[in-house]
């Protein structure tokens, strides 16, 4: 088979049994890989408790991983989120995905729970579980350093071991872009890490010349995109390039979303970070963009979301403190977005946001679930409920919102609510057209047409996350070029339209799982604050509260476009059975 390896490694952590299985070609063609494959493999397990031993934790690469297709050496980790109760997938880069594919696997399917801490070690053709008692309790960098000789590492830190509901699985030291607490699922399985050393590149390409031409088309579009390779773009400054822009657009969540403007953010802007830290480029293997930034000593610098949520959201402008907080998250294996947002909700609740110098201690307490950290480790929704003020949690479906205030972009407002993993901007990435003007600009203060735009983008991104290309690629390239890459690599003809249909299939499968777990229109809702309090207007920009009636109207349009009922559910309870 071209593109895919066609093989999955299954591991029963309870019994310690490991075996290979062939993945049906129809699955691969219909769900591509990555997120789509993981979501399909969750069928039948999707209503289990996230911490039930039988709950699978799936690592999946895409059909272009291991080729030179730009930004496609990425990994999806899929399971059910203990934070949100929704289906959850996280995308990461690093060297791990290519190594996993080189070891011959499109995916790893990890179920059961080991009686003692273990590491899954894959070396070429051999795979084994090895005891890891000595690693339990270690930080992510310590774990990676210990295992580095055995290959590329995906690991949890103390946060995952201790069941923090927003613990991450770190794929390499700086690639923890995950949301939803899948690190805690891994911790419950007592799986400390997966380390993999692939023997050889196994991804074969059906039509090399066609593939090379498609690669050139993609790279030309990257170079033509000011957002990617422009002199102020993410290749130069990483995602911190957004700090100035989002603030200028008056949509930076400040002090738990009470305000939307934070002039002090200039202290941690892209240029400020470059000035203070001499930031150097880093990133995922095989990616020409290299959007991650490191200090000359190799310490990963925060991405936009972490900067903004430890910064503006908590009223902190001290860059060193923010960098330190981000590093603590990387060490403990914590999602910095949920961490920053949970601290902020708690801060508003107790009448005082954390001071810059309190951050490292509070984060350590969260990672170890001690002191105030025991409560904070549950995420903002549960914290706010325990404080008796549920409205403090700025989350959708319990997932803390990222650093774009929905009052400043109405497609974003809708997308937060329709995202299948809870309040996330990446499922539809409306930032691209509402703020970054790609592929064209849309009116960010209008709901007009947004229902369909979000639907199309969700489908597109579900396909992108299954090809396992990076979202940022699509600030330059489109599915046209990636369909061409996929067709050339696999020898099977794909088009943007057919990939959109694949994305739709994946999206609806996820939504069906969520509905089976009780989610409905009542959960597709923003926190009350956004419907009643205006943001911080100024400089000729008005940021009013969102018109609830108009929001509801567009949500209903979205449901109709999706073929859902007015309750956001499926009219046909056998819907899933009709899909491949």
């Amino acid at each position: 088979m071209n593109g895919w390896t066609g093989t999955i490694l299954k591991v029963d952590l309870t019994s310690g049994r490991l075996w290979r299985e062939t993945l049906p070609a129809e699955f691969l063609h219909a769900y591509l890989g990555g997120r789509g494959l993981g979501v399909r493999l969750m069928r039948g397990f999707h209503t289990l408790d996230p911490f039930a031993p039988e709950m699978p934790l799936i690592f999946a690469a895409g059909p272009l991983c291991g080729t030179t297709a730009p930004t496609t050496d990425r990994l999806a980790v899929v399971s059910r989120s203990p934070l949100t109760g929704t289906i959850c997938d996280c995308s990461s880069g690093g060297r791990f995905p290519r190594q996993m594919k080189s070891a011959g696997f499109d995916a790893l399917f990890l179920s059961g729970a080991s009686p003692r801490p273990v590491v899954l070690r894959i070396n070429g053709d051999t795979a084994e579980l090895v005891p890891a008692d000595a690693l339990w309790g270690k930080t992510v960098p310590e774990t990676i350093a210990t295992l580095a000789d055995a290959g590329s590492v995906a690991a949890i830190g103390p946060a995952g071991e201790n069941g923090v509901l927003f613990a991450n699985i770190m794929v390499g030291e700086g690639n923890g872009g995950g949301r939803g607490g899948l690190g805690a699922v891994m911790g419950h399985k007592r799986l400390k890490a997966v380390v993999v050393d692939g023997a050889r590149s196994v991804t074969t390409i059906a039509d090399r010349q066609r593939f090379q031409l498609a690669c050139q088309d993609v790279l030309r579009l990257f170079r033509a995109s000011p957002i990617i390779f422009g002199e102020l773009g993410i290749a130069e400054y990483g995602t911190p390039a957004l700090v100035d822009l989002v603030n200028q657009r008056r949509m930076v969540p400040t002090e738990n979303f009470r305000r939307t403007y934070f002039p002090e953010s200039r202290n941690y802007s892209g240029p400020a970070i470059r000035r203070e830290y001499g930031a150097q480029k880093g990133g995922c293997s095989g990616c020409p963009i290299q959007c991650l930034k490191l200090t000359p000593r190799g310490e990963y610098l925060p991405e936009y979301e972490a900067l903004s949520h430890f910064g503006a959201l908590n009223g902190i402008s001290n860059l060193a403190a923010i960098v330190r907080a981000n590093t603590v998250c990387n060490e403990l294996g914590l999602d910095p977005v949920s961490a920053g947002a949970t601290l902020s909700a708690w801060g508003e609740g107790r009448g005082r946001f954390p001071a810059a110098d309190e951050l490292p201690g509070l984060l350590a307490d969260i990672g170890h679930r001690r002191g105030d950290g025991a409560l904070l480790a549950l995420g903002s929704r549960r914290v706010a409920e325990q404080l008796g003020n549920p409205g403090l949690s700025m989350s959708v479906k319990s997932l803390e919102l990222p650093a774009y205030d929905p009052r400043g972009a109405y497609g974003m407002a809708l997308a937060y609510c329709t995202s299948n993993r809870g309040g996330c901007h990446l499922r539809a990435y409306p930032l691209s057209h509402e703020i970054l003007r790609k592929p064209v600009a849309t009116d960010r203060f209008s709901f007009s047409g947004k229902g369909r735009i979000i639907k199309i983008a969700e489908d597109t991104n579900a396909a992108v996350d299954s090809l396992m290309a990076c979202t940022f690629s699509f600030l330059g390239a489109t599915l046209e070029e990636y369909a061409e890459l996929l067709s050339a690599a696999t020898g099977i003809e794909y088009s943007p339209q057919s990939l959109g249909e694949t994305g739709e299939r994946i999206y609806l499968t996820e939504r069906f799982y969520n509905c089976a777990n009780g989610f409905s229109v009542a959960d597709d809702l923003l926190p009350e604050r956004f419907y009643v309090e205006p943001g911080s207007g100024g400089d000729g920009i008005e940021v009013p509260a969102i018109d609830r009636a108009r929001f509801d109207e567009e949500l209903q349009k979205y449901y109709r476009i999706r073929g859902l009922t007015p309750a956001g559910t499926f009219a046909d309870p056998r819907f899933l059975e009709k899909l491949p």
Binding site: I227, P240, L245, L436, V440, S448, G449, E481, Q497
Partner: protein, 385 residues
Amino acid sequence: MYDQIAKYTRKLVADRSALHGWIAFAAQDDHLLTAGEPYLAQLAGDVLGRLDALGLVAARPSLPFADFIVRRTSDQSLIIPRDTETRTFLHDIPFVRSDEFAAGGPELLARLLGNRKGVIVEGVGIVAVGAVTVEQAYINYSSVFHAVFVKYLQDLLTGGFLLPGEREALEGFRSDWLRPLTADGLVFRPGPLTEPALILSEVTTVGRYTVERGLVDSFFGNISCRGDDMIYISQTAASLDELDGCIDPVPFAATSTTGITASSELAAHRRIYETSDARVILHGHPKFSVVMSMQCEREGCEITDCWRDCPHVRILGGTPVVAGEIGAGGLAKRVPPVIGESGRALVYGHGVFTTGRQDFAEAFRLMVEVENWCRHEYFRRLAER
């Protein structure tokens, strides 16, 4: 959405890329709507209803070039655009012959548009889709129109007239469609401009002039003016005739990244300001300039991707021509060294940069001169064939 449809119908008429009365749009959110000429509106709706996209335009181009291109070949099913701007974003443009359309109908068009942004239908016109907005459908239509225009004129230079009616059509195009290109009647604010509010207002005005006088295709192109420590530059994907609120102030010293949304040619603009005494820059894609920039007569050259790799500086009517991809490709390196002297430069298969040492009057006049020279030279060479 009807307001959007009305707006872009007006634009298609104003930029004379579509025939008045032969324009239709379809758009859909949770239901489909159509507007415009009844036959085309029906077609637009039938096609869009089969696609997951927001808008679609079907219109008859104001020039017969697309149909001529189709009929000049018997064995092809698509056009590869020659100009780099269009080729970067469109790759190729499928065309459907009238007998294929009779057999395949909207289903066939939907299949093709599931893969590409625009398609030519012989005897019908150009059908283009916008995934996200009605405006995007208009842009894609306009890009196809531009690509066809450039390719057909180039084909004529290399292959001559092949079909009955072609020569007459071109003569009609020359005498009726083309208008004298001048800067007459336009009012420019005398420079140098230093006051930010005045700069923003002047950039907005001159952006509109470039569209009104046909110096850009759809709205592609960019424009900037330098202040004391800032470059004021049009945003990426900004309509040059609607720049109000779409101009980014970018500090010369990289102290802020607010300008991440600035034009993809920011690097070229910055470099030109750094290496010359320019105070304003205009960049457009006037069609004859694009055509003539590709007429290289060097014999025995081994370079195949001339638009990207040509290392030579050619002179065309006093204007230097260089190669270079858009954005972070080679253009930002190759244009600044050659533009200083004359204040003008042509980019192979792409467009024209001009500068003004004081204000936009000079930059605009230079762009008009370049295009007029290329237009004149084109017809001279065609007559000589």
